[in-house]
Amino acid sequence: MKKEFKVIADLLSNNTRVLDVGCGDGSLMSLLVEEKNIEVRGLELNQDNVQKCIHKGLPVIQGNAESELHQFPNQSFDYVVLSQTLQAFYDPDKVLKELLRIGKSVIISIPNFGFWKVRVKLLLFGKMPVTKTLPNTWYNTPNLHMCTIKDLFIFCDEKNIKIKKVVGVNENKTSLIKRSNLEIKNLFSKLGIFLIG
């Protein structure tokens, strides 16, 4: 199981209602149902993934998060989870607003463009970085709006969004990210997981 999902599961309380936006094949939803008795719903664009979720008995709605979040009522979920997709939207600002409208809290994970290997690749080789977390090249990447953990901190501040907890993930190690250690964690975390709202 992905470390990221374990971290997300730990951030969520038992017996809550969670919407997983871009739920993929339902791995995270399965985990939440089995270990935390959470009532889950998924939103997923890809037909194969939708079928996989249905096969597992997980409720999933086929649709596009960019244009179809309006169907969920205000504050209808305790948490809305968005795993490594924010940077792929045309309008991440608008999507985030929708997530905060639907969920009492929102969990967002981002591949961190501030990770030292990413910085080194661009600095030393002068090429767009290709790493395990960012496996695509510049012309075929779905990531339109890459950002760093620090960027998302600044963004939340500007939009007056409350940051409740941030966890940095590097391989199997996780650590709490605070404003006091932001610079160093922004350098050594592959992934940032934000609990906001």
Binding site: Q47, Q51, I54, H55, G57, P59, I61, Q71, P73, S76
Partner: protein, 375 residues
Amino acid sequence: MNKKFDNIKKLYVSKPLKLDCGKTISNFPLAYETYGKLNSDKDNAILVFHALTGDQFVTGTNPITNKEGWWVTAVGPNKALDTDKYFVICANVIGGCMGSFGPRDINPVTNHPYGLDFPVITIRDMVRAQESLLDHLGIKKLLCATGGSMGGMQLLQFCTTFPNKTFSAVPIACSTSHSAQNIALNELARQAIMADPVWDNGKYFEKNIQPKNGLAVARMVGHISYLSEKGMQEKFGRKLQEKADYEFSFNADFQVESYLRHQGYAFVERFDANSILYITRAMDYFDISKQFDGGLIDAFKNQKTKFLVISFSSDWLYTTKENKDIVIALNASGADVSFSEIKTEKGHDSFLVNEPDFLKTLKSFIDSMYEKIKK
């Protein structure tokens, strides 16, 4: 009534049923068929609602028409509705012509077939009539209920009229109310029948004849609406029917004309013109939101049933948008709902033909629901 209807399963519903039009019917026949076996826990039953021209014979050979059942692609051993595992039930709707109470039955007051004296029925009347069948079969709660097109409309009505009577539900290619376009197409079908002089205000049956020409045209309208533009182009294009060049006549030069004529005239052998009038009317009157003060959200409140809504990308009769509106209403009511749009060029007909993605999704869902019950 025709003798061949004597040997099919029928329940005489004794409980009076007050119809939406105000009239009450009682002791009326409801023809049905079952497939597979009900298990000892009585928790493996699936109720199928049929579409406009369907009937209770979903799979195997229809004993009246000697043709294959209408949903043979989905119902049978190891299929989506696996009859080795599940007990599948389907009833002919009232207003129909496959043994259930319909305009062909004899009116005891006049001793003639009802014809247009048959009461105008609604989708809710159809569904209320079928509930008695579950009591009769000793089923308290269904594992699943499903249906496409008008079958899906009956299913949505069933879920709102009898909440939580089924553990899960799969409405397919349908909507919560009939659109203007769908009413218009139904009106075209009805006008075709009524324009046939043989129809004679619905009294043709007494003379033992059918308004074949009108009924065939009505069916042709339907068949056009069941296909997609692209699907039709791919299937027929401008291909000619067993000839090298145009005949310069009004015979069926094109394959698509020949197809429509064949479908139209095959249909008159198995269906009743008055039934088409009554059933299409029921579809037109269908609007769930009208039955509840708070509209659709109110209609689906407190639903424990787990829904899977399925639409087909090329269906222009019951579009993905209309199906998504069902999902939005269910979501707004907090119901457990899944949705999948199957990408296909086969149009509205997709649920009746071999569409692997659709059948796989349907099977996965029903099997996973059964696992949940058995956990």
